[in-house]
Point group: C2
Chain length 212, copies 2
Amino acid sequence: MSRPARVSPDRILAAAALEFAGRGFAGARVDRIARRARVNKAMLYYHFKSKDRLYRTLLRRMFTLAAERMQTIGAAGASPAEKIDRVIAGMAAFIDEHAFFPKIVLREVADGGAHLDRETLAALAAVPRSVGAIVQQGVTSGDFGPVHPLFAYFSMLAPVMFFLAGSPIWKELAPLVTEASTPPTADFVVHQQHGMRRFLSFAPDSPARPTT
Amino acid sequence: MSRPARVSPDRILAAAALEFAGRGFAGARVDRIARRARVNKAMLYYHFKSKDRLYRTLLRRMFTLAAERMQTIGAAGASPAEKIDRVIAGMAAFIDEHAFFPKIVLREVADGGAHLDRETLAALAAVPRSVGAIVQQGVTSGDFGPVHPLFAYFSMLAPVMFFLAGSPIWKELAPLVTEASTPPTADFVVHQQHGMRRFLSFAPDSPARPTT
DNA sequence: GTCTATACTTCGATAGAC
DNA sequence: GTCTATCGAAGTATAGAC
């Protein structure tokens, strides 16, 4: 079989990922994407119809990949607590492979999902749905205390997104924040894993009234 | 005393907050800021020298305000656990008063702090430093288990930022994620408070080896 | 301090040959 | 599928009168 040799679209998507992550949708320049993909602008507009469609195509692909990884973790045989460990480590690994991912997510959250059509929104929803299902299993089995699955998703992964998206800043910020030794980036995953085990654990104590 | 009547700079900063939060630094348009502030462009460039300096002025102001609030909480007389409750509720209240704040933070994290000079970075650092000091007190007193203050800061407040910055999206997303009732936005703060109490609590159990 | 008018640049997108 | 050349719109910033 002759390969279709459709290497351009993939190269364009890879270049777009870097550009959109680094500058945001509004700040992204189509010229830069084309140049980085070693393709001229007309070629880019031939494959993708517009800047918007290029962006949405990229996001759908990334959300789908991330959701698949979370789904795989949920389908495996393991205790709920161990699955939570794997969700956190799995997302960190995914970000390690696709460094642009958390930046784009943060920007899209700030944009209020302005560039997401229904299809892309559905692809995004698959990520918290997969993770939420794992949490729900733990609640039902009694391993976890009662908690809203979507809330747990945010408590679990927002710090990972936040921390790994801005690691260069934190390295610059750390000396201004604490006199303790600079934080080893990789240890944050372990920190979050240990903490979330307790966060989600059933706690018979603590009346824990809300405080203003 | 005659009032200086310097109402323009404040109106410009207020308009800039909305514009920068809604579109990001690159997407923000100076014309829109000027129009929203009911001031012409030349006036804007008269008070602030450039788009960059306007942005940094805004950020310094917001970071300083947020840090002051955290510092007040830390200085009050209360148990470490209760202070954590107040930090979470206090940040949520601050965001409620300045809805643009978490959006700008998320964007700046994604930008890798590209627009932050040394002075603005120092203002930003005061926020995690204040919160980190509270955490450190709890660790020292034995109320909390051993934890890096900066890590705890992220685990505590990143979900709050993330959730409150994107509340319109989550409302649209929730039905696609869970068949359970839609999550009441205000309850997230209580969820995070209760969870973080356990997250930070001293846990003699759990060998908790890292999982890949 | 405040305005109008505009210089200069860069953007997203397309035309049309090959 | 791929290219060069370019259009019209929109951007940041400034000049200069008041």
